[in-house]
């Protein structure tokens, strides 16, 4: 029996290389994009392909990477979270709000010891994630709308906390992780790498990770298999909010200040990283590996455009076009896979 199984599995693979490649297009296309972009910028600019610049790219994508870990879970479940950037922002502001600021900062804040400030900030983002989760699962608001509301709510809390001012100080450990480095490697890159690795391990090797894929693959079947679909969807919304919060705290330390609208570009960047990497918007396909490739594509693109002589206003358009191309590939990959599975 074992031998016939191998023979058949081999048969499945031996249908020819073309169908195999087609079914793997989701993973191959982003990788080819990355190689192409890197080669292009390396040829176009002598300052691009250097070790220093690689460090720059890694640092530049770290905050996006931390936020994208949680978002990968959400998109794998065929949901979306539009509140990630706002939650990152409010969490970053909260951790500063609970830290003693210099006397010239005119915010009526509540200074706490560093550990307590971090705890309060984490609690806040987890709470906001929980509100997302309850809205989605208990009330039944589509995640697109629920998190759109949360985007405003979190921005509103941010505004109330800083009242148009800028705070600078965050607890020492956050400052270190956000802007320090060890042996030449920035801590923020290490944190991002650890969180991406953790996310990958959870998705690949744990029961919860399997549930995430199955709920994304066929929600009805997951329910008829006796899975607690609402609990799983709720959990991914909370995970997303907490990852965003961590990204926000380290981001504030990285930028050196906490203020309103500081993270606005991270919403699109994080969604782009996950989708460009090839995780299916329809759920159930993709993963952290894809997200990492997506992060590099965005990072190389953003960084490389600074190294070549290009109109800085054109950069925005180019980014938009690359995102569009990735979405087209994403939808095609889904279709090709369905065809291959027939």
């Amino acid at each position: 029996m074992a031998s016939s199984e191998t023979a058949l599995a081999a048969g499945q693979r031996a249908r020819g290389i073309a169908p195999f490649l087609r079914s793997q297009m989701r993973n191959i296309a982003p990788f080819l994009t990355l190689i192409f972009l890197s080669a292009f910028f390396a040829l176009a600019s002598p300052s691009f392909a250097t070790l220093d610049n690689l460090g720059n790219i890694l640092t530049q994508v770290s905050v996006t990477g931390i936020i994208a870990v949680g978002l990968t879970f959400v998109i794998l479940c065929a949901e979306i979270d539009l509140s990630i950037a706002s939650i990152a922002n409010v969490t970053g502001i909260a951790v500063a709000y609970f830290t003693l600021q210099e006397s010239y900062v005119n915010i009526p804040n509540i200074p706490l010891p560093g550990a307590a400030a971090i705890l309060m900030a984490i609690l806040l983002c987890a709470l906001l994630g929980l509100v997302n989760a309850l809205g989605l699962t208990v009330i039944g608001i589509p995640s697109f709308i629920m998190t759109l509301a949360m985007m405003q709510i979190a921005a509103g809390i941010s505004a109330l906390l800083v009242r148009g001012q800028i705070a600078y100080k965050v607890p020492g450990v956050i400052t270190t992780l956000g802007s320090g480095s060890i042996g030449g490697i920035p801590w923020i890159v290490i944190v991002a790498a650890i969180m991406l690795l953790g996310g990958h391990l959870v998705l690949t090797y744990t029961r919860f990770g399997r549930y995430v894929y199955m709920v994304g693959g066929n929600r009805e079947a997951a329910e008829y298999s006796g899975l607690n679909v609402k609990l799983i969807l709720g959990a991914v919304m909370v995970i997303s909010a907490v990852c965003s919060g961590i990204g926000g705290m380290l981001g504030v330390a990285h930028f050196g200040s906490a203020q309103q609208n500081e993270f606005d570009t991270y919403l699109l960047d994080s969604i782009a990283a996950v989708v460009v990497g090839g995780t299916s918007l329809f759920g159930g396909r993709g993963g952290i590996g894809n997200t990492i490739v997506g992060l590099f594509v965005l990072g190389v693109l953003n960084n490389g455009l600074d190294h070549v002589n290009i109109d800085s206003f054109l950069k925005i358009l180019i980014r938009g076009l690359i995102l569009l191309a990735a979405l087209v590939i994403n939808v095609y990959a889904q279709r090709l896979r369905e065809k291959a599975a027939e």
């Binding site: 029961r207 008829y224 899975l227």
Partner: protein, 500 residues
């Protein structure tokens, strides 16, 4: 094929394989105008694959494909449609949120010169078409609000009236009640008079014999027989299908069958005064360990809703449930599963993950029993291999994507999900629908095994044969109430149909 007619459709030496498994091997097939051609064969014999090739769904295959004697190659279902070929697939494909009229005219709504939809005309014509089919519904009502059987009839009507010259019906009668089947057949005969070529696939061999001119039998991807319907019999067809003596295999249940004395073993499930909006009224019954309780009724009698309540998918408006004496209100399907209830719904699509391998489908419901935090893929594969062997699932490859299995084998996987750690109460909806004789017998044997192990089993079906072949005690459901219970007495197909 009747003598002397030119076939409108001809296939020669068709071979098609999926993932190294040959689904069709050198099959010839011909259909002429004004012919109803019946196809029979076990699940996975290749009937549906051949039809999907004809309908342009599968575009890669080897062999010759001729229409009106000219060689053709369809690249998509759209090409086939343009050539006048229409197909009703095994699984319902309607738009439940659109109106009946929109569904009938799906894709070619009548429009005026400005390109706007002519609603009144569409409603009138849809109503007329459906009336010819004996369906009397408001064309402007939402399709999803109608019973499944009616939805299926409307889908068939749409295809039949689309003006296609070649119509393929894959298991069209499985969700229909006897009078609906009769209506379908008279429409098919009318279309035959008009020169339409019709291919009719069914597991109901009586239906095939009743309506077809020619019958073709498939086995293991080969065509094993082609004969005039008048020149064959049910026994002969079954024998050709499964390749062993078939007479005794399918019981017709026209004679009385004696139900056993009610069991006095422990009550596993007690349902009291259960009600749900317009679907169910004051349902009360018990299910006992080691007993199969059959629930029979026509489509839309409330069976589906009842099964969903038992598994925590729907919440009842009134009444109580108790499992082993403990009152339960299931907040979710997960709560029902933890309480020891398992459900196999009638639709495979609702139960299985087509893009995932077989072993992940088998293990999904028991993951929390075999792994605390980390997955154990080797253990999952072992468990799946054991189930695949026990239920004789083909091909026996647990790493194959589920979507590559035939319908009947997928149905077995749906059952396999629950069998590693048997539940206390197993609820089966239409467990043998769309299955061939061999697979049906497999399922019957599995259910009997489980009964012997002391499970309480509830079988809900709209097919009298299914209930009669499995149940020790039978409830008849009619418009949401229990109208009759058969126990310790003779029962037959006639008696059941009369009670409903």
């Amino acid at each position: 094929m009747p003598e002397g007619r030119q076939p409108i459709l001809e296939l020669q030496g068709i071979t098609k394989s999926f993932g190294g498994v040959e689904a069709l091997r050198g099959v010839d097939f011909a259909l002429s105008a004004g012919e109803i051609h019946g196809l029979v064969g076990e699940n996975g014999a290749g009937k549906s694959t051949l039809m999907k090739i004809i309908a342009g769904v599968h575009s890669e295959f080897s062999g010759r494909f001729l229409i009106d004697g000219k060689q053709t190659h369809f690249r998509s279902a759209r090409d086939a449609h343009a050539a006048g070929i229409a197909m009703v697939h095994q699984e319902l494909s309607v738009a439940p949120d659109l109106t009946v009229a929109e569904n009938v005219f799906l894709g070619n709504q009548p429009t005026n010169r400005l390109g706007l939809v002519q609603w009144r005309r569409m409603a009138r014509e849809a109503g007329e078409q459906l009336a010819r089919f004996g369906i009397d519904v408001d064309p402007m009502s939402r399709l999803g609000d109608l019973p499944i059987g009616l939805q299926q009839l409307i889908e068939i009507a749409r295809v039949l009236f689309s003006g296609a010259r070649i119509v393929i019906l894959d298991e069209p009668t499985s969700a229909l009640s006897p009078p609906e089947v009769e209506r379908l057949f008279s429409t098919l005969r009318r279309l035959r008079e008009q020169g339409t070529g019709i291919v009719f696939i069914s597991h109901f061999i009586e239906d095939i014999l009743l309506v077809s001119d020619t019958v073709t039998v498939f086995r293991n991807g080969r065509k094993v027989a082609e004969t005039a319907a008048a020149a064959t019999s049910k026994g002969a067809l079954i024998e050709a299908m499964i390749g062993r003596g078939g007479e005794a295999l399918e019981h017709s249940y026209t004679d009385d069958l004696m139900l056993p004395r009610p069991s006095d073993s422990a009550v596993v499930l007690k349902v009291d005064q259960l009600s749900l909006a317009r679907s169910l009224k004051d349902i009360s019954f018990e299910a006992r360990a080691g007993e199969v309780l059959g629930v029979y009724g026509f489509m839309g009698c409330g069976q589906q809703e009842l099964s969903r309540i038992l598994f925590g998918k729907l919440k009842p408006d009134g009444g109580t449930l108790a499992v082993e004496g403990k009152p339960k209100t299931f907040a979710s399907t997960a709560a029902a599963r933890r309480a020891g209830v398992a459900l196999v719904p009638e639709s495979r699509r609702a139960m299985l993950f087509h893009q995932e391998p077989v072993y992940k489908n088998v293990s999904i419901s028991i993951l929390d029993r075999i792994s605390a935090l980390l997955l154990k893929p080797a253990r999952e594969r072992d468990i799946a291999r054991r189930q695949v062997e026990q239920l004789q699932i083909r091909p026996p490859v647990v790493g194959l994507d589920l979507g590559m299995l035939s319908g009947g084998n997928q149905q077995k996987v749906a059952l396999a999900k629950w069998l590693t750690f048997p539940p206390k109460l197993l609820v089966l909806c239409e467990p043998t629908r769309g299955m061939d004789v061999g697979a049906k017998n497999d399922v019957i044997n599995i259910v009997r095994d489980l009964r012997a192990k002391g499970l309480a089993i509830i079988v809900l079906s709209t097919e009298p044969e299914t209930v009669l072949s499995l149940a020790d005690r039978i409830l008849v459901l009619k418009r949401g109430t229990v109208v009759r219970e058969f126990r310790n007495e003779p029962v037959s197909k006639d008696r059941l149909l009369q009670a409903a």
